[in-house]
């Protein structure tokens, strides 16, 4: 009979525990990372009673959590991709908003600047028009400065977020290692430490949002966590901390290093999670935008300055530069073993690209690689100031202070700083070179009908450009220049001297003279201003295939297309992630209706067991009464 009490007591205890598990499920229905738990009941070992096996009640064998490693891994991977796209998107859309449909007002600033030149061409001696042009040039330079400083701010924001992410990764790694210790201890008694496992899973999930991780399980219940190409974060109870280090070429950009990588950046291996997105935003969105803007700034400045130098200002001097712009930057790697420095200059703005280049000295030879395309760039020269290294296909020349050590590297950034350094160096309105350098005239004594055209400057650096040159016809078919030579005349053919070129056409008579001379001061000539006003539509960039206005349009649609692509990918990944979350929820989540039904089931079972106990109690009382003779 006492067996009945044993059975009932075990049942009461079991159902009480079952109600506890159900209550715990309900209590944690909204707890992140909580996996629904179910109680596992077994029949107790039967007892042999009078040769017959009779059950001995119910045993609680354990509490299981509803958990699918496959579903959780899938969710973690998906979260890493989503984290990467989300942080990348936060920058691509910032750039998209910054550029808008006008490249941050650049199109307007450019239009105003070139209209400014047109206004000077309409009235070359007007100080008001010249002053307005200088104002337009300043507004253009400021627009480029502002836009590039906003891009630079994004880069410092990236640094801040990388630092924060690394701290968080380290903190989570430590917590996982601690949980590994606790779980190993708790698993010792054969019970599953569900709550600790839930917590650790939640930490791995949080970690996967910051950086893509892979995990392996150990037999003692602990796990190992790796990032990148197998860089360990957690091995059993040990953590390997991440740190931030300065980029080898650019101390203002932070990279990620591991305590197992000897301070060498492993950023290249981090391609997913928030951290992967931050690194991608820098290399794929912010830096390229800065470089493209810089390429525009360099082209605008160079073409305007070249035009200035080909014309005369109001004082009758060749124009000086209107824009100042920073030279290309060349940074030696912090890993270089030699202190050689290098400088670069732009030799051909038309061949310039918006890419960066890596100069390597190895085995006694230099090589130059485009860091965007990986292409090898042909080099000539030896790198001395007398014989610079020239990469004519990309319009660069590089001078080194000496011979570097083998293996030394230099990063050449031709345009990165240009948009932030561009400024207007011309402040005097009379300094604007609206006039052509030289003008032509025919002598009043000419008897032939030949006419002379407007001279064009072919080489503004010619020291004799402004000298007076006389072209005199010896016969209707031959002429001499400044008394020298006997050249054959062809109507409309080019006649060049001292860096200019002019055409004479028609029929000259012997003795006819034409003069080409400096335009002088205070000239109302607008030849040079006309040429400058037209520069936005001249195909200057891309080896003479793209105009400045075309490049601005390409900048806008390029940034827009990138933002659109990232937005689309982010939306798609959100859907994938939602599905993965749904999948995990579906397996591990708490359904309150389930719990309510369970509660009722356990309650009824408990009530029934209690009833059975009461019956057993009655039987026992009856028996005692019978024995005591009180039974009537």
């Amino acid at each position: 009979l006492s067996n009945i009490f044993g059975i009932d007591t075990s049942a009461l205890q079991a159902f009480q525990q079952a109600i506890e598990v159900t209550s715990n499920n309900v209590a944690n229905a909204s707890t992140p990372g909580y996996d629904e738990e179910t109680i596992e009941l077994n029949t107790a070992d039967p007892q042999l009673t009078g040769g017959i096996d009779i059950g001995a009640g119910v045993d609680v064998s354990g509490v299981q959590r509803s958990y699918s490693a496959a579903a959780v891994n899938q969710l973690n991977t998906s979260q890493s991709s989503l984290g990467q796209l989300t942080s990348l998107q936060s920058y691509t859309s910032q750039i998209d908003n910054l550029f808008g449909t006008t490249a941050g007002g650049l199109t307007t600033a450019l239009q105003n600047y070139y209209s400014g030149w047109s206004a000077v061409a309409d009235d070359p001696t007007s100080t008001a028009a010249r002053q307005a042009l200088i104002g337009d040039a300043q507004a253009l330079a400021q627009n480029l400065n502002t836009t590039s400083s906003q891009l630079n701010e994004m880069n410092s924001d990236v640094n801040t977020r990388i630092t924060a992410d690394v701290q968080q990764v380290n903190s989570i790694s430590t917590q996982i290692a601690n949980l590994n210790t606790q779980i190993t201890q708790a698993s010792g008694d054969g019970q599953s430490p569900n709550e600790l496992l839930d917590q650790r899973d939640q930490l791995v999930s949080n970690l996967s949002q910051i950086v893509g991780v892979s995990t392996t399980s150990n037999s003692d219940g602990s796990i190992n966590v790796y990032i990148g190409n197998g860089q360990p974060l957690v091995l059993d109870q040990n953590t390997y901390q991440l740190s931030t280090v300065a980029n080898q070429f650019n101390a203002s950009q932070l990279e990620v290093a591991s305590s197992t990588s000897d301070g060498v950046a492993i950023s290249g291996q981090i391609t997913s999670g928030d951290l992967g997105g931050l690194l991608a935003a820098r290399t794929q969105a912010i830096d390229p935008a800065l470089n493209q803007l810089g390429q525009l700034a360099t082209t605008i400045a160079d073409s305007a300055n070249t035009q200035q130098a080909s014309g005369l200002n109001l004082n009758g001097e060749l124009g000086s530069a209107i824009f100042s712009v920073g030279a290309p930057t060349v940074s030696a790697s912090s890993a270089n073993t030699d202190s050689t420095t290098a400088t670069a200059s732009i030799t051909n703005v038309g061949a310039l690209t918006s890419d960066n280049y890596l100069l390597t000295y190895k085995g006694g030879a230099y090589s130059l690689t485009d860091t965007t395309t990986g292409a090898n760039i042909a080099l000539a020269g030896t790198g001395t100031s007398a014989d610079p290294l020239t990469a004519s296909s990309v319009g660069l020349s590089i001078v080194l202070s000496g011979t570097p050590a083998s293996g030394d590297q230099f990063l050449v950034q031709p345009t990165t700083q240009a948009a932030s350094t561009i400024g207007v160096s011309l402040t005097d309105p009379s300094g604007i070179a609206a006039a052509g350098a030289v003008e032509s005239s025919a002598s009043d004594a000419n008897t032939g009908s030949a006419t002379i055209g407007t001279p064009t400057v072919t080489d503004a650096t010619n020291a004799n450009l402004l000298n007076t040159t006389t072209i005199q016809f010896l016969t209707p078919t031959t002429y001499e220049i400044n008394g020298a030579g006997d050249y054959t005349y062809a109507s409309g053919g080019d006649i060049g001297q001292n860096g200019w070129q002019v055409q004479i056409s028609g029929t000259p008579a012997a003795g006819d003279t034409f003069t080409v001379q400096s335009n002088g001061s205070g000239s109302g000539d607008n030849t040079n201003a006309l040429a400058a006003a037209n520069q936005d539509t001249q195909n200057i960039l891309g080896n003479g295939t793209i105009s400045i206005s075309g490049a601005v349009s390409a900048l806008i649609s390029g940034a827009g297309a990138q933002a659109q692509q990232v937005n689309t990918a982010q939306t798609a990944q959100t859907a994938v992630n939602t599905q993965a979350q749904d999948n995990v929820q579906s397996i591990s989540g708490v359904n309150l209706d389930d719990e309510a039904a369970n509660l009722m089931q356990w309650q009824q079972a408990y009530q029934a067991s209690a009833q059975a106990l009461s019956v057993a109690n009655g039987l026992f009382t009856n028996l005692l009464d019978a024995v005591n003779g009180t039974y009537t």
Binding site: A29, S30, T92, S93, D96, N97, G100, T101, Q111, Y114, S115, S118, A121, D123, P124, T125, A435, E439, S441, A442, D444, A445, N446, T447, T454, A509, N519, G520, G522, S523, G524, D525, N526, L530, A533, N534, D536, T537, S549, V552, S553, A554, I556, S557, A559, G560, A561, A563, T578, Q581, S586, I587, G589, V590, N591, L592, D593, A596, A597, M600
Partner: protein, 398 residues
């Protein structure tokens, strides 16, 4: 699939966020009237619109340039009309002086009138535009180009011709330099000029001259010498006699592809020089005319000399009138070019604005319809959620 309350809620929140973001985007479109405000919403369209806007701004600049060029050319046109009027008056005066009936006093009065015309010509030559720029100074627009001197006028301008861009790759010349308008005027008939030697004692007068056969014409210096009152010979600069003949008043003398008509009674030893035309400033022509009128003698030879000087002056004035008409015709042609370019520009601007509008402007009907449907979906989603959210078995536990 097993659905939990958390899942239900998360799905509802995701849907809600998406719907609200679509509604916000639609509202932004409707309030700006643009189908996209950042390039990511339409990268290709944004690139096109940026390109179109730049072409539009250029085209509008060309229109402005064209207006400024039209103003300049109109000022030049009216200056050239004044110049023609003055030249016509001068021509009439010269012909009046050549009538042979004028007294010395009359001639002196005519000279005074010619000097007044010289002043008017100077003021035309120094015309300034609205900004105070001299229009006939070439590039030297701030320098007064012409100043009278004893032999005519000095020119301080240059031969520059300013150009204005009125279309893509299309420029128009505004203004013509003073050298071309006032100085580069050919003497004589434009090919050659005949002058009487100052020591002529007869009354030979220079008449019509012309190139009769351009193929035979040799531009050189010749001298027509009268070996007798009725015989002449024509010698070239090398001293070779190219023609001889008997002189008859009013009959053309022909040689080397040209002919010269002389009239009157030249004396033996008189000579006339034929030389290629050279450029002579209109101011020099007037100055020469004035000094001829003032220094006349009453002898028959003196009268002939005056008459020959006036003939030379009238020839030069005719050349100047020709030249002015040519310049004015080219000004008119340039004004036409500008007008054409302006109308092309206007059409282009309209076209560009339409293209920009096609790409960027919002189709309100479709935007409002889609906002309406988004609103409907949002309120339906909210209702559905409140309905299912209230369902729980716990409600029935008691």
């Amino acid at each position: 699939m097993r659905v939990t309350q958390n899942l239900d809620q998360a799905q509802f929140l995701t849907a809600l966020n998406q719907l609200e973001s679509s509604i916000s985007s639609s509202q932004n479109q409707i309030s700006t009237g643009l189908s996209f405000t950042t390039a990511s919403q339409n990268p290709v369209g944004a690139g096109l619109v940026s390109g179109y806007n730049q072409v539009l701004a250029e085209s509008q600049q060309y229109t402005t340039n064209g207006q400024s060029a039209t103003d300049s050319l109109n000022i030049e046109d009216s200056a050239l009309t004044q110049l023609q009027d003055q030249l016509q008056s001068l021509r009439s005066l010269a012909l009046e002086a050549n009538s042979g009936t004028e007294s010395a006093q009359d001639l002196s009065d005519i000279a005074t009138q010619a000097q007044q015309i010289q002043g008017s010509l100077l003021s035309v030559a120094n015309t300034q535009d609205g900004s105070g720029n001299y229009i006939f100074a070439g590039y030297s627009t701030e320098t007064q180009p012409f100043a009278l001197n004893s032999t005519g006028a000095t020119y301080s301008g240059d031969q520059g011709q300013r150009q204005v861009q009125i279309g893509a790759g299309q420029t128009v010349v505004i203004g013509d330099n003073g050298d071309a308008v006032f100085n580069q005027i050919k003497t004589g008939n434009g090919s050659f000029n005949v002058t009487a030697a100052s020591g002529n004692t007869g009354t030979g007068l220079i008449g019509a001259t012309s190139v009769t056969n351009p193929a035979d014409y040799v531009a050189g210096t010749y001298s027509i010498d009268f070996t007798a009152a009725d015989a002449y010979q024509v010698e070239n600069s090398a001293g070779t006699v190219v023609s001889t003949g008997t002189y008859t008043s009013g009959q053309a003398i022909s040689f080397d592809g040209m002919q010269v008509t002389l009239s009157g009674a030249p004396a033996t030893g008189d000579s006339f020089t034929v030389a290629p035309s050279t450029d002579q400033s209109i101011f020099t022509t007037v100055q020469n005319l004035v000094s001829a009128l003032q220094n006349t003698t009453s002898s028959s030879a003196g009268q002939a000399q005056l008459s020959n000087s006036i003939t030379n002056a009238v020839n030069s004035i005719d050349q100047a009138l020709d030249n002015t008409q040519t310049v004015q015709a080219s000004v008119g042609a340039r004004l036409n070019t500008i007008t054409t370019a302006q109308s092309v520009g206007t059409a282009q601007q309209t076209q560009l604005q339409e293209s920009i509008s096609n790409i960027q402007s919002l189709n309100y009907a479709s935007a409002i319809t889609s906002l309406d449907s988004q609103n409907t979906t949002l309120s339906a989603a909210m209702q559905a959620y409140t309905l299912t959210e209230g369902l729980s078995l716990f409600k029935y536990l008691s």
